[in-house]
Assembly symmetry: D2
Homo-oligomer: 352 residues x 4
Amino acid sequence: MTDAVRRHDPEVRGFASDNWAGVHPEVLEALALANGGHQTSYGTDDYTEALQHVFARHFGERAQVYPVATGTGANVVALQALLPRWGAVITADTAHVNADECGAAEKVGGIKIYPVESPDGKLTPELVDRQSWGRGHEHRAQPLAVSLTQSTEMGTCYSIEEIRALCDHAHDQGMMVHLDGARLANAAAHLGAGLGEITTDAGVDIVSFGGTKNGLMMAEAVVVLTPERIDEITYLRMSSTQLVSKMRFVSVQLEALLAGNLWLRNALHANAMATRLATAAARIEGVRIARPVQSNGVFAVLPPEVAERLRKRFPFHTWDESTGEVRWMCAFDTTPQDVDAFVEALETEMRA
Amino acid sequence: MTDAVRRHDPEVRGFASDNWAGVHPEVLEALALANGGHQTSYGTDDYTEALQHVFARHFGERAQVYPVATGTGANVVALQALLPRWGAVITADTAHVNADECGAAEKVGGIKIYPVESPDGKLTPELVDRQSWGRGHEHRAQPLAVSLTQSTEMGTCYSIEEIRALCDHAHDQGMMVHLDGARLANAAAHLGAGLGEITTDAGVDIVSFGGTKNGLMMAEAVVVLTPERIDEITYLRMSSTQLVSKMRFVSVQLEALLAGNLWLRNALHANAMATRLATAAARIEGVRIARPVQSNGVFAVLPPEVAERLRKRFPFHTWDESTGEVRWMCAFDTTPQDVDAFVEALETEMRA
Amino acid sequence: MTDAVRRHDPEVRGFASDNWAGVHPEVLEALALANGGHQTSYGTDDYTEALQHVFARHFGERAQVYPVATGTGANVVALQALLPRWGAVITADTAHVNADECGAAEKVGGIKIYPVESPDGKLTPELVDRQSWGRGHEHRAQPLAVSLTQSTEMGTCYSIEEIRALCDHAHDQGMMVHLDGARLANAAAHLGAGLGEITTDAGVDIVSFGGTKNGLMMAEAVVVLTPERIDEITYLRMSSTQLVSKMRFVSVQLEALLAGNLWLRNALHANAMATRLATAAARIEGVRIARPVQSNGVFAVLPPEVAERLRKRFPFHTWDESTGEVRWMCAFDTTPQDVDAFVEALETEMRA
Amino acid sequence: MTDAVRRHDPEVRGFASDNWAGVHPEVLEALALANGGHQTSYGTDDYTEALQHVFARHFGERAQVYPVATGTGANVVALQALLPRWGAVITADTAHVNADECGAAEKVGGIKIYPVESPDGKLTPELVDRQSWGRGHEHRAQPLAVSLTQSTEMGTCYSIEEIRALCDHAHDQGMMVHLDGARLANAAAHLGAGLGEITTDAGVDIVSFGGTKNGLMMAEAVVVLTPERIDEITYLRMSSTQLVSKMRFVSVQLEALLAGNLWLRNALHANAMATRLATAAARIEGVRIARPVQSNGVFAVLPPEVAERLRKRFPFHTWDESTGEVRWMCAFDTTPQDVDAFVEALETEMRA
């Protein structure tokens, strides 16, 4: 029996982040399945090899999958694969790779980021064009990639047409397209489309596929969709510290997610909980839902002192101190009872 | 029930590497314990906080632990913490950070490595001095750290006195000491000493503590032993892509290993299996044990064609093509029967 | 006699950039003076040592000067000196280090830049605050420096009070202040103040001092004003490729500029030429001077087809295609006749 | 008249380094020729364009020249051009890029260096093979370039056949060849061969061409010999801080050197002075010439106390404290009288 002890109440959940959740029980099962015996390390094991087929079914026959440990790792490896040493990437200012990764892209890859202000976390061809210029001019780090986030940090989703328009626009200018899909499943669930439909088929070149926020323990992947145009991920993954030795345990998590429909079940559920929450909260006077609810996050504006009191019972993050906007995230394990209790508490605090 | 399927025979083991092994059953238990409910992400959870005390018991009250995802990540973060932007580190040429990490230290940290040829994988003050010069000379990347590996890539161990002598020597010259402890438990088990005795007490400044090769799934840690002398690991961990979001699942693995004596049981067992293997193999004519067996690895010289045939039944790596030296690694899950079957096969093939 | 041949007409000048100009005759004299005999290389020569006193007279007794080859080199070395590995710098979006150096800061130093939109190229405490947040939050590259440009890329100048307010504001928040002074002399000339008054006395921590745009051949310098707070420039200069071997020839240029008042003569002259040009051009109907003329650059809006025709006779750059804004730069060698001829041509083309 | 003052005796010379010398008078003439009027900056000026033809005459029609400010800059730009992000370069341990550039290649380019011990500063196919392995193995930074130094740091020269053999060997293994030619002219002079014969014709891919040590002020160049195989130097030069704004003044120096035979005159002279010195010194009892004199450097072993006294009159460097080996460098401006006086002093001190 393990010497580790349970240190938390497994029935307490909040709305702070989908990565505050634990892992889906099927994932623990999968880890147990993959255990025992010896398997080659660093990705030549049977689970990682099988994973190629799993991803090919979702992302198309040419897709290649490279499991990594963290989402930041996936982003940094993917962007390096797209860019020469002097390349730059255009992102929304709120993109995780620009705003939340402590400068990892700059530091590990020497990559310049051109952030574009975007009120809803989405880029458009017009927004891209604000930074897509100066080609051939050696004073300007060359904008050779665009990075989209789907669903965005603001809980919004690109439609398939929007992604296609951005990819076409980028490709026309000689830029490649990276998609940070830390919450790609939530977007697919919202759009009612397959993972490949909203990436490969729309023209995306490379994806950071996120499993962790959708019920895995720690499992992300770089998915190469247009192999003839990218450099060698294997070396980039290793030299960027992202090659996991017992990779079977990363790969089997991804298999558990994608071999069947766990990815979709989890995402649909989290999205539905967000919608339930937004719908109920919107009815409360003084609470304003600030953005379209298109995935598993709800952004709301309410009086700061109410937020303060409410947070003591259910943790969640403030998104913008100046406007009083808060973020409520639902996860695969959020229950309708969680939502209802939260809404009730919100109602009570609003009245207090 | 998970959609993942078992793809391997959990009873088949070889001698290729300790990271070909799976995870100890107690680790799966621990992961299940930590599951359920919400916990803050990125290391402020209850498991990571508790881990500080676990590490303090082993490494001393001032020790600080920062869990990371990969051993390369631990090394790169630790070395950056010790070195200014113009700093260099002296290592044995066979050190993992020099020989096996695809240039990650150079790439992520811009760190220059001064490798020193070392026949047994160990440094000595004399070997260090081959590169420890040129202080104050701006043309020379300043040697400001020494990195030891314990146990070494060659299966050898530094004695406590040897480590202390190296630390004293390094500190006298203004250098700090990093210890790559991917197999630190095996060394402690061999030396019959505690983890703190062979690190903190001997003067080491920072440790890459390895859990994965000793029965964990993926869990390593940067352990800071002399906090007043190092920079801020938190930022380095994030900007080097090594901050795991659901960190409770990394931390609980390390707790499972170190809260009781799993670390020691696993290491003693793996070491004992190596000794059993070396002892038996040494008796076979034509097989020569090439290095002292001081941890869980056995290095042997045998005819290449024998190695070739033997490898088909039990995977293992060639260490040096030119001499015919091979490496046989034992793991926490290697059984006496595995060893005996392997020795029998070796004997048969030698006679064939 | 040299085998090199004159390939250009030394009487042809335009308004494209102050770095299209050659060097002041006194600079050639100085280079000749420093020639002959042997002098130690890499900055321990008599000229470089004497330069310390020259800079101390301008920038204060604690100032330390480190000559380098290029302005980008000066910026990259200076910013690395101010920032830990995880540090970020706040700049105006138009700052040279952000917009015109092909990502050198990101690439060489792994530095994240937080650009702030600034209509006139200047920062204010309010603009700084748009990015000065997130301290202690490991997901955010820590904003630990502010970089000002004086005079700015838009030809505007900070007043001494504005610089002091920015330095105080930055220091209050634990940030240090870099000043990109590629055209510092032009700003001092405009403000009627000494070089130290507008930097050291106003609280600046480190300066990239520009000589090249003010009549030197190639000579820039990192000037450290608050030595107790910065890392070791010597190593950064070398490891960033900026250590010039025959440094006496860089240092003597800077001496020629700063030992007497060549710096001021050149700057006053270039500024006066810009004022002359702006004053005359403003009188022409259809030409609008777009920004305050506070150094040696004039920004004007005129019909694109006029600009096109005019440019054939006098080269100059378009600043903003969308608005038709152009930039006319004056240099130390611009003559009143040059200006008058240009204005006449402008007038003619406007009428055509 | 310049405010700079002469601070040294232009008749005092020593034997410390060829970069302690000043510049050849023809270079000052050339700088004056290029002065005056306006010329486009950053390398589109008439002098830089003409330089292409000058280099093409020496290095072949396909050669492309990119002037830079420092030799370290040339090396770092050239190596980045040859290597992907995960590439490594094999060098002699004494190579400048490994031993004397403060880790610039690692820091700026993230490049791993595999140094090979080489007693005479030269590589051979056999020495290259000590590190040329592990292709396709993601744990090993991929050895994809070899860097030679000609003449070497030890004053030795590769023959044309040796270079060709190394290039063939490298190319056969998929590696490209960089040649650090900080003293390429001295090697060509020694070999009695053209600059192209010992580089382009022998199979070298890219050269760091040095002008500074051969009588220029500060002028080096990256010379691309096999353009179809390298990346875009322009961006690398800028992002590595090496783009000089008033580039006409770098280019005209290189023109002064290479348009006629100044390069050869200077190199032949410096080499002859070294031979004169070595020949005379060899006759003195107790002095041993330690290495073949194949360029402008003499390595000698003499009693340390003699070296100490002698150095007070004529500066020179100790090469190896442990053996008492010293280095005497001759420059383009070393006179026979300098040599004779030095030898006489040496003789006197040996007898003292």
